[in-house]
Symmetry: C2
Subunit: 253 residues, 2 copies
DNA sequence: CCCTCGATTTTTGTATCCAATACCGGTTTT
DNA sequence: AAAACCGGTATTGGATACAAAAATCGAGGG
């Protein structure tokens, strides 16, 4: 019998630790945009040697979170509002392709079971009278699941990789701005619209309607675009710095 | 006066050397798919120490050319014919987005000058009676340039990065299969069709017709799909191994 | 004959070491 | 006073050292 509990110590523990921590530090602004990332300063902060930190930095550079300085070393990349909007649009485009591919593949009932279940759960969630904070985190989980399953249904490894990579960019994830909705009076309506999208995307896939599936997935990503706009104007009202980062708001999520 | 000749010795020369060489070795099959990449074996072959090799491998893993083995180390990734087709489709999708974005941006004459020039040169090239091998390499250069400029016109850093990354995948580049055309009797006709696409994509951008530009860019990528099919059936005729790699053919390019 | 187990030998992941060079401040010079 | 110069420090890229894990291979047992 296998005695292996979840004591999974990956062989490259230090590197993944550095990668996860550094990514988090960049995303939540602990390492401000434009700041040079001195490896030594990270060494004391994380307690791992330079080597895994450098590996992690290379990965982050490929992901696009840091830039490789010509003179050597890395700086935290600055993301303009336009960059964030572009990421969302690109995600929408690629998820559109995924939806079309899924529809054209004509998956059978078994393959569709999970995503149907997911949509069903979302339906049930939305139907509740009041939406507590727990409900919102459930929503985020289910929403994430829907998007993952959609990509899975496209059955394309390269598409999957490309989409997953872009999700690491700041605010590109499908629910990066759900926390904005949760504060909006029309929150429930937005969720209903999104859920209507989910349902019809699934329907289009079931019917093999590739074009419709694609168009809907793209339209779906516009919700994120709108939430981004709201977040930006909220922030603009709060402090008068126009294009500044959204990091503060995000911490509440 | 600046005495600096092109003695550009980048600070990280070893790493880029390892990256370029390793990428080439993977792409031309010197490192066959499925083979584990032992760092030591690379050390003697390239004459650089493990550290830069390791960096390069991490980058290649992010690019998708090698996979990170759960047990540790890297293996050359296997690309199925479907993977190659998917890469082309994804490139077409993203270039479609680029074309639409370019059209919606309404670039002015100055911004369009280069791509117009490029299309003009392509026109002149196609009009020649006979196409020599030199002409074909000119075509490849100009075609590459057209696609780069298209992405440039979209003015989206994140889109640009995503497209450039996928171009590193095997046979994903816009002219990966032009060498197939060059052997085909209908070669000239295919080039004409492609050029017609180039012209109308530019026209759509000039007129601000985003949807048309997108549709055309996508259609344009179908040429690559067809060339892939031809290459595959060619190879299937030659040796009877169905899904085998296209590497042999590529070496002639 | 095949399978299992164990010792040997690679190979990896991480830490450290070294040389080169970019950065910073003070100094000098015009 | 401003700009160029210079020297010291800090930091990076690359090489190496070392320990732990994994593949390899052979012997022994079923």
């Amino acid at each position: 019998m296998s005695a292996a509990v979840a004591d999974d110590k990956p062989r490259n523990a230090q590197t993944v630790k550095a990668l996860l921590k550094l990514r988090e530090m960049v995303l939540n602004g602990e390492l401000p945009p434009g700041e040079r990332v001195a490896e030594l300063s990270i060494v004391d902060r994380l307690g791992v040697s330079r080597t895994p930190i450098r590996m992690a930095l290379v990965r982050l550079e490929e992901e696009g979170l840091v830039d490789c300085l010509a003179t050597g070393g890395f700086v935290v990349r600055e993301f303009s509002d336009q960059d964030i909007a572009d990421s969302i649009e690109l995600r929408g485009t690629m998820e559109g392709m995924a939806a079309r591919r899924a529809a054209e593949r004509r998956p059978d009932r078994a393959e569709l079971a999970e995503i149907r279940d997911c949509v069903g759960n979302l339906d049930a969630l939305i139907r509740r009278r009041e939406l507590s904070m727990d409900d919102f985190s459930d929503y985020i989980r289910l929403n994430d699941r829907f998007h993952s399953l959609l990509v899975e249904l496209a059955a394309s490894a390269v598409l999957k990789r490309s989409i997953e990579r872009i999700l690491h960019l700041p605010f590109a994830s499908p629910n990066a701005f759900v926390f904005v909705q949760s504060e909006l009076p029309e929150s429930r309506e937005i969720l209903s619209i999104a859920q209507e999208h989910h349902r019809s995307i699934l329907e289009a896939i079931e019917h093999g309607e590739g074009g419709r599936a694609e168009a809907l997935a793209r339209e779906h990503s516009r919700i994120a675009q709108r939430n981004l706009q709201v977040a930006l104007s909220n922030q603009q009202q709060r402090d008068r710095i126009p294009g500044a980062s959204l990091i503060r708001q995000r911490e509440r999520a």
